[in-house]
């Protein structure tokens, strides 16, 4: 351990713990080698944490929010036009507003690094573009209803949930695959670390397709009718499905039953969203309710009642919660935190400690179909009946990006290398569990102590004893008479295509036996008498 290492202030942020029992005072082992090994591991861990904490100064960017100057001023009253005037030209230009009135309402999807935008109009208009440059890569009209679209591992491929099937297109809009198992999908989600495309829709089936191998990894029947909402937990790749009976179910491809079932609304779930860290889930129901869950321990944090049923929810990287109701978009800050003061409200109603909306927006005479915060940007993309609009939401984007993970400025080469790297690091679908940390650990039911040879012997003895106790009961064996005979086995042994004199004799013998058996059987049955003679046979016998 280097002596010059000192505990950094921010080190707590980088500490890790697996389970609760790691940091409790541990008993010193007698095994010297093990002790040395544990010490080495601990030192390594501490060093790594310290080094990680030391890298924080490399992240100088901080997210800033819109701030009110006095109590009377409310940030949610600031309009987009005012913000556009206030911000720099570059940011203002990013406030994209595509007016596509013909094929709406539009579903939007930003790629993981935020460079590309995929839009899919309900009436079949699909377009993939580099939205910052205004560079349209692919545009096609499939002439059928499109319900959802998503980019796959990068902006080179995208999947579109169309009227009946789901299709995969490449960056130029060429149709690559028609996923015929994914029927009537309404929601698409791509799990980037597992290369899985998950679809759910009218049929009530959740299907996982591995896009790297093309296999259908698993098909799960929800038994809860059409899926009304769907999202993924970015932390553990669990799919959260919303159903019409107000429940939210959590699915892993390796379990046929839902891992968890939550009752989140009295009516159908309209939308589900989970924050980046996988701590919180926000659901909205048709019963005009909005619920914020802590999904680490499945407790409800907040319940909010909305004036009208919400159609969409989105959570930004910084934890802003955007809710759309018809033409309205309302955004809360700190809504994911515990505490009454963080509970989202629409108005203060004369009380000071209310979490009033951070921002709100209205697109009059319109209906927002779909929302997504743009990665690494202070923008909220909305797809609505008349096209696509980006709203400027200060403080929505993650200020510091990890280029090893997602690089918003990646070049073609980097993209290609990243693709290869992610393919190499692809996780099997089996590894999706509610708590990904259990992978590599010891089974829950196993002994928490290493079994000695004595223990193992006891176990094996016990099993032997069991076998011994049941010894007096004879094993049931089917009473089947073997059909084998000496002649048969001889014939079988003889090479098939070699016909010699002996074989011919054996065959004749067998034929004879067969005939006598048949005859005996017939006599027994009473078809013929014992002294029956077939005249025809006798007559023909001379020729044989």
């Amino acid at each position: 351990m280097p002596p010059n290492r000192k505990v950094k202030d921010n080190q707590g942020k980088y500490e890790r713990s697996t389970g609760g029992n790691v940091n409790k005072p541990k008993k010193q082992t007698r095994d010297k080698k093990l002790r040395a090994g544990m010490k080495k591991i601990d030192d390594q861990y501490k060093e790594a944490v310290s080094a990680a904490a030391a890298t924080q100064y490399l992240l100088p960017e901080s997210a800033g929010y819109l701030e009110a100057e006095d109590e009377m001023e409310k940030t949610f009253k600031v309009k987009q036009d005012e913000i556009k005037e206030g911000v720099d030209v570059g940011t203002a230009n990013k406030a994209l507003d595509l007016s596509l009135k013909e094929f709406g309402p539009y579903h939007i999807n930003y790629s993981r690094n935020g460079t590309s935008l995929l839009i899919a109009g309900r009436k079949g208009h699909i377009a993939s573009m580099d939205w910052r440059k205004g560079d349209l890569r692919a545009e096609l009209n499939v002439n059928e209803t499109c319900h959802g679209a998503t980019y796959l591992q990068n902006d080179q491929f995208f999947a579109v949930a169309q009227k009946k099937y789901t299709f995969i297109y490449d960056h130029e809009g060429v149709e690559l695959h028609r996923l015929k198992q994914h029927i009537e999908a309404r929601h698409l989600q791509f799990l980037p670390y597992h290369y899985l495309l998950a679809t759910a829709g009218e049929t009530g089936w959740l299907k996982y397709q591995d896009v790297s191998t093309g296999q259908l990894v698993s098909e799960l029947r929800t038994k809860l009718g059409p899926t009304t909402a769907m999202t993924q937990n970015p932390w553990n790749a669990i799919m959260h499905l919303g159903h019409s009976n107000g429940t939210v179910t959590l699915w892993s491809p390796s379990m046929p039953q839902p891992l968890v079932k939550l009752l989140s609304a009295r009516g159908p779930i309209t939308s589900v969203a989970i924050d980046r860290a996988g701590y919180n889930m926000v659901t909205t129901g048709a019963d005009k309710s909005m619920k914020i869950w802590d999904i680490r321990n499945f407790k409800e944090l907040h319940v909010a009642n909305l004036p009208t049923p919400a159609s969409n929810i989105s959570i930004s990287d910084t934890g802003l919660v955007a809710v759309s109701r018809g033409p309205h978009v309302t955004i809360w800050n700190n809504a994911l935190k515990a505490g009454f003061e963080n509970r989202p409200f629409f108005g203060s109603m004369g009380q000071n400690n209310r979490n009033t909306p951070y921002m709100s927006h209205l697109i009059p005479g319109n209906k927002i179909n779909n929302m997504q915060f743009v990665p690494f940007e202070d923008l909220l993309g909305t797809g609505h009946n008349d096209g696509v609009t980006n709203l400027i939401i200060p403080g929505a984007g993650e200020a510091n990006y990890d280029a090893l993970e997602i690089n918003p400025f990646e070049t073609t080469k980097q993209r290609q290398e990243q693709e290869v790297r992610t393919l190499l690091n692809k996780l099997p679908a089996d590894t999706i569990t509610l708590d990904p940390n259990v992978i590599g650990t010891i089974e829950k039911n196993a002994s928490s102590r290493r079994l000695t040879a004595k223990d193992l012997a006891e176990i094996s003895n016990a099993s032997l004893d069991k076998a011994k106790f049941n010894k007096d009961i004879p094993k049931i064996q089917p009473d089947v008479k073997g059909k084998n005979s000496g002649l048969r086995s001889f014939l079988r042994k003889k090479t098939r295509n070699v016909i010699d004199e002996r074989k011919v004799r054996v065959q004749r013998q067998m034929e004879k036996e067969k005939n006598t058996r048949k005859r005996n059987h017939q006599i027994k049955e009473g078809h013929i008498t014992e002294d029956h003679k077939d005249l025809v046979d006798e007559a023909l016998e001379r020729f044989s």
Binding site: N21, K26, L34, I41, A52, A54, Q257, G440, T441, I442
Partner: protein, 849 residues
Amino acid sequence: MAKKKSRSRSKVAKRAQNALEIAEKELAGNESGSDERLDYEDDNGHVVNLLRKVQGGDDEGSDEESFEDEELDSDEALGSDDDFDVLNSKMSQTIRDRKKGKKSLSSEDEGGYTSIDEADLVPLSQVWDMDEKDTNEDSDGDRPETKLQLKGSDDEDLSAEESSESSSADEGDDDEDPFDEISEDEEDVELNTITNDLLKQTENKSYKKLDNFGSGKDSEFSLPTGSGTKKLNLADLMSVVDDKDAAANARLIQKDTSALSVPLPQRIQERYNRKAAYELSKQEIERWQDVVQQNRRAEHLSFPMNPPTEHNHASTFTRSSEEPKTKLQEKVDSVLKESNLVEDQKNSTFEELATAKMSPEEMKKRTAEVRLMRELMFREERKAKRLKKIKSKAYRRIKKKEMLKNREMAGLSDESDDDHEAARARERMTLKHRANSKWSKDMIKHGMANDQATREEIEEMLRQGERLKEKMLDHNSEHEDEAGLSDIEREGVEQESPEKRTVGKTGVMDMAFMQNAAAREREANSELIAELRSIEGDQIEEEESHSQLLPEDNQNIQINKGRRIYIPGSSSAKQASGQNKADGVEDGQIVEKYDEPLSGEDEAQVKENSKSSNPWLDGSDGEEDVKVFRSSKVSVVDKDSSKLVKSAKKIEKASDRQKRKSGSKGRQDDDLLLDLDKTNRLQIVDPYAGSDGEDTGFMFKQQSSIAEAFAGDEVVDQFEDEKKRVAIDEDDKEEDVTLPGWGAWAGTGANPRKKRKFVKKIKGVASQDKRKDKNLKNVIINEKVNKKNLKYQSSAVPFPFESREQYERSLRMPLGQEWTSRASHQKMIKPRILTKPSQVISPLKAPFK
């Protein structure tokens, strides 16, 4: 033992008797040679000669001289060399045999001094033995006489005994004499037995004779002498053996010759051997333990283990290796070496140069000194050239004469040297100095040793050999060593003595310039002597001697003030050098010119040095100095320090205290803040509690109507039902497998017994009490185990870890670069063993060699 003793006594008696006889005969024969004879006997009493003498008793006058010669010859020619003893003995034996034959013949012919009765009857082959027997018989007859004699004259006996002891021809000497008993007990014995005994005896005799023969001295090479005095045993032989181990191992010879224990069975012996070998190998291996352990504990090992550090060569034109590889490189190398471009630059760095350590003043002085030396040398050279050019024959003649004279005086003639060398070479070539040369051996063998000339030559050779060996054997070395310094000194003294000077008034040597030259030479000599003395007197460092050689370097000693040199010769040497200075006209003056001011400067320098370099001395006086050098952390305030310092210290202390206080306060504030935060955060708000109380906002007036609208769906009830159902389904179940009437008696008189319950317990997924969602509202958690996930989990605690906690602690830190900093990621994934491709990994080297 008693028997032995008596036997030996009889022997002694016989010998004495024999000696007596011989002595009588001798006396009768010649009186003059008796002295000499005794001498001879002392050396090695050859009875051969004695017998001859006896023989020639009649004509002794004529034979006397030749006999003497012969005696001398054999002695001198073969010398006292050990090699010759053997040769001598052999030769003498052959001679003796011959003589014996003669003697027996003579005795037959004349019947001179013994009377033998049956001698004629005995066959010739047994003549010698018979002869012996006769003598024995005679001696037996004479025994009473000898005894008497023994008692009477001791001194004579002793001398006689000595002589007889060493004599090989002493026929009376025998251990077992069957004739003694036979003759005494019974006179008439069968001849057969006697002959048999005699035959036996002959065998013994011949052996004994050989045994008894030998020279007077005991040595490992000579045969053991007299049987009575000393008996050779194995221990004596062992004393000669050089190999100590062998001597220690010779168990039989050692005193404690107890019976050897029975050797262990081979199997057990081998086991012991293995055990010992194991111990040895264990020790050997234990020496490796440290290295092996170190390598085992090391986090990373990179092979090759200790690679030679490769320095980056600055340019591509410098070679990476020292040895030239190509021919061109070799050529360049050789050229560089010739021009001294390579080595000098590399070998002496600036720091290593002596001049680098000098102060500028010293440097100046040094250069001046060197310049002076060069000047002097140049002058000398010029002078020599001039002298060489002189063509005057007279001058040359005088010069030559002078040189010769000088040489003579030095005691080395020009010719003698060469002669000596030549003689030595000749000697070595001819190998004349070797006494046991082939030639001399031949001479002795063929009896030419008797020849006067030959013998002289051999003697000369021996002497020559001795002379040559003299130096090697280091006889005169002490004398020669002494002749070193003192001689020259004495010479100098002698030369200076006035008598010598006045001896030769005329001649070249008395001319002024010659005298001057001589004086100069003497001076040089004395100087050299002084130097040598000083070196001899103590181990002076080279520098010192150098400094004495160079008179200006005296201040070197001055610099080191506290250093005194106690050398007995040094003071005189200094004086001598001082004198030298005074004598040398130009040298001294030049030196003295810049000697004094420099020394003054040096003193000043020394003072400065002492001031700056002695931190203990100047600590008290300079206050400001102390301040400067004191570190802010460690400051010493004591009684001696001034008021200013003290007060400053006080102020500092006070401020420190305040700071500390404020710091703690700040910390406390921080704590408070933290506490507040904690309370804030720990407030747990029941989400429904708030909604119940304050939900009645004007915007949500229709809430109840909404509830009504969805009332028909009964979603909540359904969910609750489901939850219950799931809980029951997944709970442990009990199944009653009792068959009614099974094992029970029916009918009249059957007493209704207690119902035996056959309950089968089916373990469910999770018992109702332990469900995770037990206390959670609106949540159903699936308790079933995801079997597909199990393969990513360990079924038991893996080996090195002892508990789940330890194992999971080891998994805490992900290795991926996405989760850690770059450095720690690379450190964590660094393999334990790193090898360089194409590098040979040599086996572990023993570090303890």
